[in-house]
């Protein structure tokens, strides 16, 4: 049964499926104070995000602005030490211009750890009351952006959960939703298949170049995007992992390429290019799954579909993460962490279209406020590191 969606209307007309107050530290030195503020509101919608670096970075600043003004976010408390390199004013101005309550507190100016925690708690307490009083309004699926990722993959991921999420993607796209798949490093070997699905030849060439860039990046770094657990789970090479990962994108035509912080301009299916441009400057493209989830959210995703075979447990700050378990043995062991048992396909207890439909319906229920397993368990992982990107090429976005 497909439930109607309800969302929180923002000043720019977008709608969120959650009403989160984010507490954001602007340097690692403000992390502890921010944690202490958030800890007080453990069972309420207060999430911790932040950027640990002391040196400014355009990518990180862009990510922070997109996250603090995300449709699922209702207000933001920014916690600064005082002397860090983060350019605070543009962030405060952007959040304020978006119509959201925002406050910047500096630990040095406020008088230290204890006084800042108290000041922060007082502001969060007052602002949360406003957010909790906000009524939801009806929301259409076409107002939804859904991102997809796989983590802790094994050989069952490409057989069950990933193609089932692809079925759900095809249904969402038919309804007019915006959908995003990513991790170009895990599409190595798929470039020709993917280019054939592009809406025009120029985009097809751009898709191939995006994957070639990822292959160059990982070759320079010395490792493919491949963990030892992937091999334990029966995946032999990056090409084999890619085949499974690619299945998440479904069968629809590919409408464009985006980069972190860029929202899909219209409905359809988009590839998120997560690999930095130029020579590697700040380390690996994405140091773990949550770095990618944060980027999907910065591209506007209000809901994340996460497939896992080995059994990842993560959730995320800001947007709910729906965990689709590919491996029936993992599901039996870790049922409390899993929202969907896609391994039933392997056991012959369900078909691919049935599980795809189940995921599609669950997106609606979660969009209507039902908590995911990772939300219930309190997962709010978040990470943001340094990166550098060039602007999008001319053929990347649909006209």
């Amino acid at each position: 049964m497909t439930e109607p969606l309800q969302g929180y209307l923002r000043a720019d007309g977008r709608k969120g499926v959650r009403n989160i107050l984010v507490v954001a530290y602007l340097v690692e030195c403000a992390h502890h104070v921010s944690c202490e503020i958030v800890a007080t509101f453990r069972d309420r919608a207060v999430h911790l995000i932040g950027f640990p670096g002391c040196y400014p970075n355009d990518y990180a600043a862009g990510m922070m602005e997109k996250l603090c003004t995300h449709p699922n976010v209702g207000a933001a408390l920014l916690v600064s030490l005082g002397c860090e390199g983060y350019n605070k004013r543009p962030l405060v101005d952007a959040i304020s211009a978006s119509g959201r309550p925002v406050k910047l507190i500096g630990i040095q100016g406020t008088g230290g750890t204890r006084k800042t925690i108290e000041a922060g708690k007082a502001w969060v307490d007052a602002t949360l009351r406003e957010l909790e009083a906000q009524q939801r309004v009806p929301m259409d699926v076409a107002e939804l952006t859904v991102g997809t990722i796989c983590g802790g993959s094994d050989a069952t991921s490409g057989l069950t959960a990933n193609p089932a999420m692809g079925v759900a993607f095809d249904l969402l796209i038919k309804d007019g939703a915006k959908t995003i798949f990513e991790e170009t490093g895990e599409l190595i070997g798929m470039e020709h298949l993917m280019a054939a699905r592009a809406t025009n030849p120029a985009l097809g060439e751009a898709l191939k170049e995006t994957v070639a860039k990822a292959a160059r990046h990982y070759a320079q770094m010395g490792y493919a995007s491949f963990a030892p657990g992937n091999a334990d789970g029966g995946l032999t090479t990056i090409e084999e992992k890619s085949l499974g990962a690619y299945a998440k994108s479904g069968q629809s035509t590919i409408d464009g390429i985006i980069k972190p912080g860029i929202e899909p301009p219209k409905k359809g299916l988009y590839l998120l290019d997560v690999v930095p441009d130029g020579d590697p400057r700040f380390g690996f493209a994405n140091i773990n799954d949550n770095a990618e989830i944060a980027e999907l959210i910065a591209c506007g995703s209000q809901v994340i579909l996460f497939s896992t075979g080995r059994g990842s447990v993560v959730g995320s700050a800001i947007s709910p993460v729906i965990k689709v378990c590919a491996n029936p043995e993992t599901f039996k062991r870790m049922e409390e962490d899993m929202d969907v048992d896609a391994g039933r396909i392997l056991e012959g207890r369900a078909t691919l279209p049935e599980v795809g439909r189940e995921i599609y319906d669950l997106v609606h229920r979660v969009g209507n406020g039902a908590p995911t397993k990772s939300e219930t368990l309190g997962h709010q992982e978040f990470i943001l590191t340094y990166k550098s990107f060039e602007p999008l090429g001319p053929s990347c976005l649909p006209l």
Partner: protein, 89 residues
């Protein structure tokens, strides 16, 4: 099961034990060593350098001769793109 008719590897839908014989289409394969769910076995003789085909897509090349029913993994297949990193030697 084979994921595409052209494939030279099959995928175990249940754990397979060394010594057991399984039917793949009309041919009987004797399992050389234990194979976990989702892992691969050779569906036909594979020569060194042959492309390994799964979903009718190349997933790498054989590094040695692989007999039907033998386990197919990192010990006898290498990526055509980037080396696979594992904790085992």
């Amino acid at each position: 099961m084979k994921l595409a008719p052209q494939d030279n590897v099959a995928v175990a839908l249940r754990p397979l034990s060394a010594g057991e014989t399984v039917m793949l289409g009309s041919s009987a394969l004797t399992i050389a060593r234990n194979i976990a769910v989702g892992h691969k076995l050779a569906a036909q003789p594979i020569a060194p350098g042959d492309k390994i085909l799964k979903y009718n897509c190349p997933i790498g090349s054989a590094t040695c001769a692989i007999a039907p029913g033998e386990y197919v993994h990192t010990h006898n297949v290498a990526s055509d793109y980037l080396p696979t990193y594992t904790l085992e030697p």
